[in-house]
Each structure stands twice: as structure tokens, then as C-alpha cells.
Homo-oligomer: 142 residues x 2
């Protein structure tokens, strides 16, 4: 996929973001092929076209793109290690804004379908499922 200059300008304009060259190149590096990319990977890729770009610019724009819904964040958690002692099967509800985690019962999952859809060999014997959304408090703030 290759976005025309005009397409990107329009997308950026909708979000109230200036359509800079850096932003266009960063965005294209991600949507060019489906996949999950780290800031470093994107940085390495974008440098081929803009050798002088700063890593901070990549981070800033990834954050902006995610906030404006142009990109989705994979695993939007707190970056800290968290542990729990409750080993009873249960799942988590995670707020993508404040990163709060709360427990939730697990019978909203159809395990039969899930294991049919998972790739062969993927071990789901004791799956942990995390569902992301926005908690009531953060919802109210907007």
C-alpha cells in the first residue's frame, strides 16, 4: 500500500494535526504491511527515507496517532511488572487510559471456538484473557 500525499493530508487534517513529511513517512511505514511494530523498528525503517529523523519524533507521533485513532496500540498496559496471587481461573478488564486492572468472570469466552481459531499448537490450557476498554472514571473525564 502506498498512500498518496493528498490522502494523508486529509487524514491528518481530520485529526487537527499538521501534515508534516515526518508524519506521513512514519504513518506509511506502519500501514505499508500488516503487523505489530515497535518504535525502534519504525525508527529504523523511517530513517531509510529521512536519515536525520529523531527517535523522539517517532515516539511523539506514535502517541499522537494512537490518541487520534489512526493507529491501535497493542497491549496498552502499564509498563510495570504486576503479579497476583489469585490462581483461580479469572480474567482481567484493563483501562487503556489509566491502566487500572480489575478482575472479571470468564464465561463470556467460547473456548471451543477460541481453540479452533488459534493456530495449531498454541497452548491454551490455562488461558488468561485481558479485555481493554475505558473505565467509568476515565470515561467521565472526557
Amino acid at each position: 500500500m502506498h498512500l498518496s500525499h493528498e490522502n494523508f493530508r486529509e487524514l491528518a487534517w481530520k485529526c487537527g494535526l499538521a501534515a508534516t513529511h515526518q508524519r506521513q513517512v512514519i504513518y506509511e511505514a506502519i500501514v505499508a504491511a500488516p503487523g505489530h511494530y515497535s518504535a525502534e523498528q519504525i525508527y529504523a525503517d523511517v530513517r531509510k527515507r529521512i536519515p536525520s529523523i529523531s527517535l523522539a519524533t517517532v515516539y511523539n507521533n506514535l502517541k499522537l496517532f494512537v490518541e487520534h485513532g489512526l493507529l491501535r496500540e497493542v497491549s496498552p498496559h502499564t509498563s510495570m511488572l504486576l503479579v497476583e496471587g489469585n490462581l483461580e481461573p479469572h480474567h482481567h478488564l484493563v483501562c487503556t487510559r489509566c491502566k487500572a486492572v480489575q478482575d472479571v468472570e470468564g464465561d463470556f469466552i467460547n473456548y471451543k471456538k477460541l481453540s479452533r481459531q488459534a493456530p495449531r499448537g498454541f497452548d491454551l490450557t490455562q488461558p488468561l484473557v485481558e479485555v481493554f476498554g475505558i473505565c467509568r472514571r476515565c470515561r467521565a473525564k472526557t
Copy 2:
């Protein structure tokens, strides 16, 4: 809950871990009350009983406890930011060992049940679900 000295020794012994005083206190700090705890929180709590304990000891033992199944890790991802450009509704399968992420179709979730079980006001309009397990390659290594 308060684990007797003997109970912890037995638990540790089953895992082939020495039942040190530090380990017992760390373990008890977590299982004393249900919840999701960070290393720093646990460190602060354990210091009340063992002021000389090192933060590294807390990290080391959390890791060991998780590996041996005495504790569960919340959100067991790579600690890096990852983004994706694919905004079509879909979910993720994450390997808790190698942290690899792959896409999976989402119709194994009963959204009606899920939103009934979620606390009032939790916004699930565009939920992202991540299912944790062990991928084929990591499974084979053991």
C-alpha cells in the same frame, strides 16, 4: 490469610526452591489480600518486616514464583510499545514466553455476557481482547 511456616516450606519444596525467610515474606505480602501488585509495592510492604531486603531480591523471587506457577503475572507482554495499523476489529494471541503477538478472529467472545459482567460504566464499544498462552515453538522447547 496467614500462611504457617510449614505451609510455605512445603510449597517451596515442591518447586525445588529453598524456603528462605525473604521468600516467605514476599509470598505472604502478595497472597495476604487479593489484588494486583507491582514490585515496588511489594518491596515497600516487605521492608516493614525485613528492612534490609534488596529490591533485586524482590524482582528475582517474583520472577521465580511466576515461573513456578506460585503467582500469576498480570499482562505478560513485552515491555515495549507496539502499534499496528490494522483497525479492522480483531484480537491478539500473545505468547507468555517469547512475547510474540499474532492476530486472531474475534467471534469467540460473547459480547452480551461480557458487558453484563463488566462493571457499570466500563466502555467496551471497541474492545481489544488479548488471549495469553504458549506458542507452538516455545511449547516444543520445554
